[in-house]
Structure formats: structure tokens, C-alpha cells
């Protein structure tokens, strides 16, 4: 150590300080670079949503001038939309179908998932593989005979074909719940069984409360699945205007002549709003649900 003179020591000190500073500077540049890239990408992702909201607040004349800011703000669009088209009825219809579908899915998917994950029995693996493969099955293959069943039951047009099938469990929800149930330690069940707890009680009182995050995930997915669904309503309720959902109603806009194009964006904004609000409040559940299964709804 003593081989270095004080001057040399000071020089080394200064160098290392410089190196540290340049490293900090480098880190700072990296951070700026990363965040600018992220902000640019965010702007691209947000742009369509921004444009929808902005156009929804324009007058009809302005909406067709490619402008990017409403002048003046026509807040009235958000009132007029309810009189121009039966928007409230569409919303209530959509809400009804979505809520019923969600209840059905949750009630009917928990028990199968429970026995597939918490109990040992012959044929369990086979059953699980069947469920996995029905998830991969294209809906078009079963669509026509199912349509015929519903039409023989005289359920078309009505909400029943959109609601009733959800009471017979969805493969996707069973899969998600099963993945989660499997991660709960077996010791919990064993302890309860030794204490003489029945299987049903064990499922309802112990496993279901533990699996709240997974159950809220399937509830959210199935609610959004119904809310965003277009094909189901297109098959089953299009014939009766009183039953129209938001998707069907919105798609029919171009045929309704007294509705202006800016109002189309008003309606789109209102259609998106609940989904976006729900998403902001339950992001974590969503993202974990997608991660758990690899698919959305």
C-alpha cells in the first residue's frame, strides 16, 4: 500500500469516482431509454381508446373532419344515445346474461374441479384429459347440433341458450380451478377428514374459502366472456330486438339510419367502460388467472 504516493492515491480515487459517476450516468441513460420506449408503446396502445373517447364527444360534423380534439365538447351525446337507440335495454340484457352465466359457471365448475384435484379415484387422469381436449375442440363442430337442440326446445330466440349451458360447467373454469386446488397442501384436507369432516363440508368450508382468488378469476373471466360475446347472441337472440345485447345492438348501428357516426363511438365507449373499470379494480386477479392457464376466458 505504501508503494503509492499520496498524489497517486488521489488520482486513483478520482478515477474510481469518475467510473462510478459514469456508471450512474449509464444507468440513467438506460432508464431514460427504457422509459421512453415504454411510453411510446403505451401511447400506441392507448391511442385507439383515446380516439374513441374524443370522437364520442364531438358533434356529427366535427367527427368527420379527422380532428383530434372536440370543439365544442358535446356531452349531450352521452344522453342522446339512450334515446336514439334502446341503449339501456341492451345494457340490461347484456348484464342479465352475463350475471346469470357467471353464477352458472361458478356453481357448476367448483365441484368437478374439486374432485379432480383433491380426491384420488380411478379414471381421474382420463377425465382431466377429456376436459383438456374439449378446451381445444373448435366450437364450430358442435355448434349446429346444439343450435338444433335449442330450436327443438323452442328456446330461440331467448336468453336460455346463452345462460343454461353455463350451468353445465365450462372446461376452462374447471381447468383453472383444478390448477389452483392442486396447489393447496393435502395435509389440510387430511386433518379435516380425521376430524370427521364430510367431503362436501370440506369442499365448501375449507377449500372454497382458500381458493377465493381462483374463484374470483373464473367469475371475472366468465362475466367478461359473456359481456364481450358476440357469436352466441348472433345465433340465438338476433331475431327478437327486445333481447338484443350491446354487441348485437352496436353491430346493427349502421342499419339504424338516424344514428350518427359519432354516436357509434359514444356507444362503443359506454360498452367498453364497465370492462375497463372492472379491470382496474381487479387487475391482479386477471393477470394471475391468465398466467395460471395460459388463456383468456
Amino acid at each position: 500500500m505504501s508503494t503509492y504516493s499520496p498524489e497517486k492515491m488521489r488520482e486513483i480515487d478520482a478515477q474510481s469516482r469518475k467510473a462510478r459517476r459514469s456508471k450512474r450516468w449509464n444507468n440513467f441513460l438506460h432508464m431514460v431509454g427504457n422509459h421512453s420506449l415504454l411510453i411510446a408503446l403505451s401511447a400506441i396502445f392507448i391511442l385507439p381508446l383515446y380516439l374513441v373517447v374524443v370522437i364520442s364527444l364531438m358533434s356529427k360534423g366535427q367527427a368527420e373532419t379527422r380532428s383530434l380534439w372536440p370543439h365544442p365538447f358535446v356531452w349531450h351525446n352521452y344522453v342522446d344515445i339512450f334515446t336514439a337507440v334502446p341503449f339501456l335495454k341492451w345494457t340490461l340484457n347484456t348484464l342479465f346474461v352475463s350475471v346469470m352465466g357467471t353464477i352458472g359457471t361458478v356453481v357448476s365448475s367448483v365441484p368437478p374441479a374439486y374432485v379432480l384435484s383433491r380426491l384420488q379415484w380411478k379414471g381421474r387422469q382420463t377425465t382431466f384429459l377429456v376436459i383438456l381436449s374439449t378446451m381445444m375442440l373448435p366450437g364450430q363442430v358442435t355448434m349446429i347440433p346444439v343450435y338444433i337442440i335449442f330450436s327443438r326446445l323452442h328456446w330461440i330466440p331467448s336468453f336460455l341458450p346463452l345462460i343454461v349451458p353455463s350451468f353445465f360447467a365450462s372446461a376452462f373454469s374447471i381447468f383453472l380451478l383444478r390448477q389452483f386446488f392442486t396447489s393447496i397442501p393435502d395435509e389440510i384436507s387430511d386433518a379435516a377428514r380425521i376430524d370427521g369432516c364430510s367431503e362436501f363440508k370440506l369442499m365448501m368450508r375449507i377449500i372454497v374459502p382458500l381458493a377465493k382468488p381462483a374463484i374470483s378469476a373464473i367469475a371475472l373471466f366468465s362475466f367478461l366472456g359473456s359481456w364481450n360475446d358476440f357469436f352466441g347472441p348472433l345465433l340465438y337472440i338476433v331475431e327478437n330486438e327486445n333481447l338484443w345485447t350491446l354487441g348485437i345492438g352496436l353491430n346493427a348501428f349502421q342499419g339504424i339510419h338516424h344514428v350518427d357516426t359519432n354516436m357509434m363511438m359514444t356507444a362503443s365507449a359506454l360498452f367498453m367502460a364497465p370492462v375497463i373499470i372492472i379491470f382496474f379494480f381487479s387487475q391482479k386477479v386477471f393477470i394471475e388467472g391468465v398466467t395460471l392457464t395460459g388463456v383468456k376466458g
Partner: protein, 321 residues
């Protein structure tokens, strides 16, 4: 307890260790049966019976009113040799899959990778990137056809402002409408991105540190560490992408309704099935189309499965091996 402790590809992987033998409990058969009964009812009446029935119908002529009339292979003959719309739809579907599936995977990896970069604040960006995938397909499609409209949509104005002389007419132009749909799909990349993000965050940081010590460049550590470890996720999203793209319907249907797609540039396989079944009421022919769809997706999946040995790396073996 957190959901993220288990992951999407877990069922396709073998457990490293075999669970210790557990004490045999009496199997509550009745309970199991009762629990499975809703699903069993569903699979019999909404899956098994319909499959058998549509298989039979694919050999018949059936218009919902009269009872099905056996025509042998006529439907398939008509499909391959007489129906131009079938070939058009198939070509469009293959075209859009071939472009959008790889593009979606690259874009998902890119956005997820960018999200892992910053030390803080990435959750707000993640929210923004994920948000569009939540938007209802009908609303998203209406928004896109409107803002990309060459006459009164602001997008082309922006493109002109950044110096693009003659921006495409997007959905109004048969040559460009599929690109409009592809952009719409990329906008909703969120759910795919989240799976990649989870995968990226699972990569042990020690690997990157080791690579850095060995003097690997950023690109090298991405190419030789990140990418191989991502292959199971890439494989998974390729398979679901292929299955999904043959069922691509809502966006194309809504968009072609908005712009009057006379040249059928946005006419896809699922659209053809829908029109055959519920506009022309040719249930037999539509069933035949649906079965051909099933065979095509199965073949594609099998091909991808066959190739996976060569490029998919599973950390602890795979169920499909």
C-alpha cells in the same frame, strides 16, 4: 395464497419427484359422481352428442325443416371442387394465420421483454399494454374501422403528418383490410404478453449474471438464455394461435359489415361456416365444413407437436415427448 405459484404449462410437464405413498382413504363414489354430474351432463348433451350428430349430418343434405337426406360424400366433393368461396375462405385464413401468429408471438415477446427492463414503474405500463385485450371485440372492431377510415378517421391524418404520402385505405381496400385486422389483433396482444411476461420473470437471474461474467452481449444472452427458456411458451401460443385463427370470426364479421366487404377479402373459414349454416341454412354442408376445420386444426397441431422435439426445451421433460 397466490395464483401465480402454478403455471400454464405445468400440466404438460412431469413432476420431478413422485409423491410419497399416501394412506388409502375410502373413495366417496357418490360424492364424486354428484360433483361431476353437471359436467357429465354438459359433455354428453353439448359435446359428445353434437359431435356424433354433426359427423352424421356432414354426409347429409339438411335444411332444418325437412329431415336429413343421406348424400354420401357429396358435401365434401362440393367443398373441394365446386365451392369457390371455400377456397377463398381457406386461403384468407391460411394467409392471416401465417402472418399474424408469428407476428403476435414476436410482438408479445418484445412487449413482455420491454416490461422487464425498468426497475420501477413497470406495473403501470403493464396495465396499459394489457388493457386493450379486455375491450369487447365488437367495440374494438368498430373503433378500428372508424379511426382507420381514410375519409374521416384520424389515423391516416397522423400518418400523413409524419410524412407518409399515400397512407393505405385500410379496411376500405381489399389489399389492406387484412392488415387492419392484424393490427387490431396486435393491439389486443395483452393476454399473450402476460404469459410471456410470467415466463421471462421465471428465468433465474443467476443465468444472466453468469452470462455477463463470461462477457456475453445483451443479444447473446437473449438468444441463448431467454429464447430457449421461452420455447415452451412459444410452442403453447403457436398451438392455441392455430386453433384460434381457424375460429376467427367476430372481428372479421363486424369489420366486413361496417365497410361492405364486396370482394370478400375478410371472408374467413369460420365466416364461411356461419354463412352456410345460418344464412343459407345448409346444415349438412356446414357440418362438413366444420369437420374439415377440425381435421385441419388437428393436423396442424400434430405437425407442431412433431417438430417440438427439435426446438422446444422443457426444463424437466414433457408429457408429449
Amino acid at each position: 395464497m397466490s395464483l401465480s405459484r402454478v403455471n400454464a404449462i405445468a400440466p404438460f410437464q412431469k413432476k420431478g419427484a413422485i409423491a410419497p405413498p399416501r394412506k388409502k382413504l375410502k373413495v366417496p363414489r357418490l360424492f364424486i359422481f354428484l360433483c361431476l354430474s353437471p359436467w357429465l351432463f354438459g359433455i354428453i348433451f353439448f359435446t359428445a352428442y353434437p359431435m356424433v350428430s354433426s359427423f352424421y349430418q356432414s354426409f347429409t343434405k339438411f335444411n332444418l325443416i325437412e329431415s336429413p337426406e343421406w348424400v354420401g360424400l357429396d358435401n365434401f366433393h362440393r367443398m373441394f371442387f365446386e365451392d369457390d368461396d371455400f377456397w377463398k375462405a381457406l386461403k384468407n385464413t391460411v394467409w392471416i394465420s401465417a402472418i399474424s401468429i408469428p407476428l403476435r408471438i414476436c410482438f408479445a415477446i418484445f412487449t413482455a421483454w420491454v416490461l422487464t427492463k425498468p426497475k420501477r414503474g413497470s406495473s403501470i405500463y403493464r396495465t396499459i399494454f394489457f388493457l386493450p385485450s379486455m375491450v369487447p371485440a365488437v367495440a374494438g372492431t368498430m373503433a378500428f374501422t372508424y379511426i382507420f377510415n381514410p375519409a374521416y378517421g384520424p389515423i391516416n391524418k397522423m400518418l400523413e403528418a409524419i410524412g407518409i404520402k399515400d397512407p393505405p385505405f385500410w379496411f376500405m381496400d381489399p389489399k389492406w383490410s387484412k392488415w387492419g385486422l392484424i393490427l387490431l389483433g396486435l393491439w389486443g396482444i395483452g393476454d399473450t404478453m402476460i404469459i410471456f411476461l410470467a415466463g421471462l420473470l421465471d428465468v433465474p437471474t443467476s443465468l444472466y449474471e453468469a452470462a455477463e461474467l463470461e462477457g456475453a452481449s445483451g443479444w447473446q444472452s437473449f438468444r441463448y438464455i431467454t429464447l430457449p427458456l421461452m420455447t415452451p411458451v412459444i410452442f403453447f401460443s403457436t398451438v392455441t394461435g392455430v386453433i384460434g385463427s381457424f375460429q376467427y370470426f367476430t372481428q372479421a364479421y363486424v369489420a366486413s359489415g361496417q365497410v361492405n366487404d364486396y370482394s370478400h377479402a375478410m371472408y374467413f373459414y369460420a365466416t364461411h361456416i356461419y354463412f352456410s349454416a345460418f344464412r343459407a341454412y345448409e346444415m349438412g354442408y356446414a357440418s362438413a365444413l366444420a369437420w374439415v376445420l377440425l381435421v385441419i386444426t388437428l393436423l396442424c397441431t400434430l405437425v407442431i407437436l412433431k417438430t417440438q422435439k427439435r426446438w422446444v426445451h422443457y426444463p424437466n421433460g414433457s408429457l408429449f415427448k
